[in-house]
């Protein structure tokens, strides 16, 4: 099948249908992502006609609409299948039999990965980490997810889908009758392995919010700051300070945004909070709204977590009904706050707060120029607080139990507990809520990962440590992490992991700035040379040097951390590189593969080389 050609017909749509969808969002260009997601779901592609009509309806240019449509992985200019299967292509999935599962899907569907069947029934694609590493291999099938895939399971799934069953029916024949929470938990195991005192243990309903009612906004900010709470998404900025900046900025409107776009490969702790603690999360957001004087909020849910949308929407509606959201919350005049869910559409970069805001504004998910920072000029130019799911949940608990209680938990400059997403080569993958400060060795024995040869802490943009560093501690002062702990046994190929991580960053770079857009591709090429045994010893220095340039000149956190998988492994696993590098011989590069270079010509000319084939003439 030819790449690039539409595999099936672009569906016939009337302009009126497209216009109706746009009108459903008030023809608002800031809702562009919602509009395009909706159209993609209905018509399976964003066709040239759709681009033109949407541009006209929203008062945008066609090329601007195309810019959004081509930015997000889940939107497509060419038709997708009515059932789109997206296999999670995380390294943990690769190590858990993804290749066999892919082959099984290809066989059952009769199409290759990346293609759509001619009848338009099915598409098969890879997508980066979908946050289910603890039950890999996993896949999205339209808006539902399936986990722990095996060849057998794939055959069963495909038999059902081909017989005309809906993806939802794969989960339960009575899917429609199930409550949203039950739907989510039927699809995905929470795998809560260790509940701590803050988040996953028993949590009284809205106790924090009720206490916040009696406090002045400034007192709430003080309490959060005094608790020592730092952002749980990875960067670790002091939450109270962020709020203070937003509260101080004179503005007509302020916004509270929840970042539920956890896309760092190996991270899935927010998935569990969104499933089991959605009320706590929105309670935390509501407290934040009171603290900074915001009346509007957005919950930015990553496209991969679309299966949780209904659950979250039902929680929001329930809270509105109970007077916990909307005007005059709990009867307090002037305390108004409401929020909407903004779905992402497959873009890791939207976890960066500026990019997240851009995405909510209906733009490609590109980080914004700083300064100004979002706390002073964020969404639509208004002060915007963006915090992680876990951070907001912590806030609600801090308001309930008090800053001192929270501050006393943890170690050193890291207060409270942390949720860890554990996956890879261990006995008990899942989510652990633990106080900060545990050593990696103790951690590994807790999760059944004592055999580990390498541990990736904090995902690809974090740290990869070897056995000689297992005495190090999980805290902001030592091994910081947004939550991902990915364990690799001694049989794993370190360079394969590095190549995957770099390829992930290449895929997810927004492309705005030169070093990240281009430099990461160069890193990927160089690692590919090491993998093929075609690297020169000088390439080790080259990798370090190129990494330094990317880190120093990139515009946002993606580029300033993307070379880390290489630098970390060079530091902690140096032999992996030096053993594979081939020095020049007599200053002739051993890395130039003449046999590979002439192979095409040899086949085409149907003759051998009179220079490089030793047996020539025999």
């Amino acid at each position: 099948m030819d790449e690039g050609l539409p595999a099936c017909e672009v569906p016939l749509v009337s302009d009126a249908e497209i216009m109706a969808v746009c009108e459903g969002y008030g023809n608002d260009p800031h809702r562009m992502l919602d509009i395009l997601r909706d159209l993609q779901d209905r018509f399976r592609c964003i066709s040239p006609q759709i681009l033109t009509v949407v541009a006209k309806q929203t008062g945008s240019t066609r090329v601007a609409v195309e810019g959004v449509a081509t930015f997000y992985s889940f939107l497509s200019l060419t038709p997708k299948g009515r059932v789109t299967i997206r296999l999670c292509d995380d390294i943990v999935d690769r190590f858990s039999g993804l290749a066999e599962v892919t082959e099984a899907f290809e066989t059952e569907l009769g199409i290759k990965l990346g293609h759509t069947s001619r009848d338009g029934a099915f598409s098969l694609d890879y997508t980066p980490c979908i946050g289910l590493c603890d039950q890999a291999p996993a896949a999205m099938i339209n808006d539902i997810v399936v986990t722990n895939l095996t060849v057998e399971k794939v055959r069963g799934i495909m038999a059902a889908l081909k017989s005309g069953k809906s993806p939802e029916a794969l989960i339960s024949e009575r899917f429609g009758e199930l409550k949203p929470h039950e739907r989510a938990t039927r699809m995905v195991d929470n795998n809560i392995r260790h509940a701590g005192p803050v988040l996953l243990g028993p949590v009284p309903e809205d106790a924090g919010l009720r206490k916040a009612l009696d406090l002045a906004p400034a007192d709430i900010v003080d309490a959060v700051e005094a608790s020592g709470l730092r952002g749980c998404g990875g960067a670790g900025f002091v939450t109270g300070r962020k709020w203070r900046f937003a509260a101080q900025e004179p503005a007509e409107r302020r916004f509270i945004f929840c970042n539920a776009d956890e896309g760092e490969p190996g991270t899935f702790k927010d998935r569990v909070l969104l499933t089991e603690r959605p009320h706590l999360l929105i309670e935390g957001m509501t407290i934040a709204a009171k603290a900074v004087g915001a009346k509007e909020g957005v919950l930015y849910l990553r496209g991969e977590y679309v299966y949780l949308r209904e659950l979250l929407q039902s929680v929001i509606e329930e809270r509105r009904e109970r007077g916990l959201l909307g005007p005059a919350i709990l009867g307090v005049e002037g305390f108004d706050f409401d929020l909407r869910i903004q779905m992402g559409a497959g873009a890791y970069i939207c976890g960066e707060e500026g990019a997240l805001i851009s995405s909510c504004e209906g733009l490609p998910g590109e980080p914004k120029t700083r300064p100004p920072f979002p706390v002073t000029k964020g969404y639509l130019g208004f002060p915007t607080v963006v915090n992680n799911v876990e951070t907001f949940c912590n806030v609600a608990r801090i308001l309930d139990r008090g800053a001192e209680w929270f501050h006393a938990l943890g170690a050193g400059g890291s207060h409270g507990t942390k949720l860890f997403s554990v996956s890879g080569d261990c006995l008990n993958p899942g989510v652990y809520e633990l106080a900060y400060g545990m050593t990696m060795r103790d951690f590994l024995s807790l999760v059944g990962g004592e055999e580990a040869a390498a541990v990736q802490v904090g995902g690809p943009s974090g740290t990869m440590i070897a056995r000689d560093s297992f005495h190090r501690r999980l805290s902001f002062d030592d091994l910081t992490t947004g939550g991902a702990i990915t364990i690799f046994g001694p049989e794993r190929n370190i360079l394969e992991i590095v190549e995957y991580y770099i390829s992930f960053f290449v895929h997810e770079s927004c492309g705005y700035c030169t070093p990240c857009r281009v430099g990461n591709v160069f890193l990927q090429r160089a690692i590919g040379k090491f993998r093929k045994g075609l690297a020169n010893p000088k390439d080790i220095e080259y990798l370090k040097d190129l990494s330094a340039t990317i880190i120093e000149t990139s515009r946002c956190g993606l580029g300033t951390t993307s070379p880390r998988p290489i630098l970390e492994t060079m530091e902690n696993f140096p032999l992996v590189y030096s053993a594979l590098a081939k020095p020049s011989k007599d200053r002739i590069r051993a890395t130039f593969d003449i046999q590979a270079a002439i192979d095409d010509a040899r086949k085409l000319a149907k003759r051998r080389s009179y220079i490089f084939d030793r047996d020539f003439g025999q």
Binding site: R589, A597, D600, K606, S609, I611
Partner: protein, 189 residues
């Protein structure tokens, strides 16, 4: 200066247009000065086909588009103490490397040759076939800069480099006074 033993120089033109060799002649009357310092060994300028001795300096024009280019380049590396890439083609592949940009399909070399010899708009090839004489060297999958095949010591940019920059570089190297280029000398066109 003239008491020093003469340096031996060799030159070769690989996948290029011979323009850089012509540019060497743009040194004009300073050539006489230069020839007091050097003796030319293997080179199309002398028509010497094989190295007679080890050389001090090898000058390479053109990149590598076929197996023979690779063979010659490696031979130069073996026989020369210092190897200079001269001109855009030797340094980065140059115009011949334009074919690399179309070679992203499943069968790129065939498509490239078919367009060049059969299907191209302005082709008048009565044999309707791609030349395939056994004496023709096999093409490489891509055009490679010289530095990807062997280690290169110096590069003289330009298409072609001016006589001045060639003279400055060579005379500088021969007298041990080469310290890079003046900014005005750097040209890519």
């Amino acid at each position: 200066m003239s008491d020093l033993p003469k340096a031996r120089i060799a030159t070769a033109s690989l996948a290029g247009c011979f323009g850089c060799h012509m540019a060497i002649l743009d040194i004009d009357e300073r050539l006489i000065e230069l020839m007091k310092l050097v003796e030319v060994d293997r080179s199309p300028l002398t028509d010497i086909k094989r190295f007679t001795k080890r050389c001090d300096i090898g000058i390479i024009e053109g990149g590598c588009c076929n197996e023979e280019n690779v063979h010659v380049l490696r031979d130069f590396r073996r026989h020369c103490d210092v190897l200079i890439a001269i001109g855009q083609c030797a340094i980065m592949g140059g115009l011949p490397a334009m074919r690399n940009a179309i070679m992203h399909s499943d069968d790129p070399l065939r498509e490239c040759l078919e367009e060049a010899y059969i299907s191209g708009k302005y082709i008048r090839n009565t044999t309707h076939s791609i030349p395939n004489d056994p004496a023709l060297p096999l093409l490489l999958d891509e055009v490679y800069p010289c530095s990807e095949v062997v280690e290169i010591d110096y590069n003289i940019p330009g298409c072609a480099p001016t006589g001045d920059v060639i003279y400055d570089t060579l005379s500088g190297l021969l007298t041990g006074r080469f310290h890079g280029f003046e900014r005005e000398e750097i040209r890519f066109d």
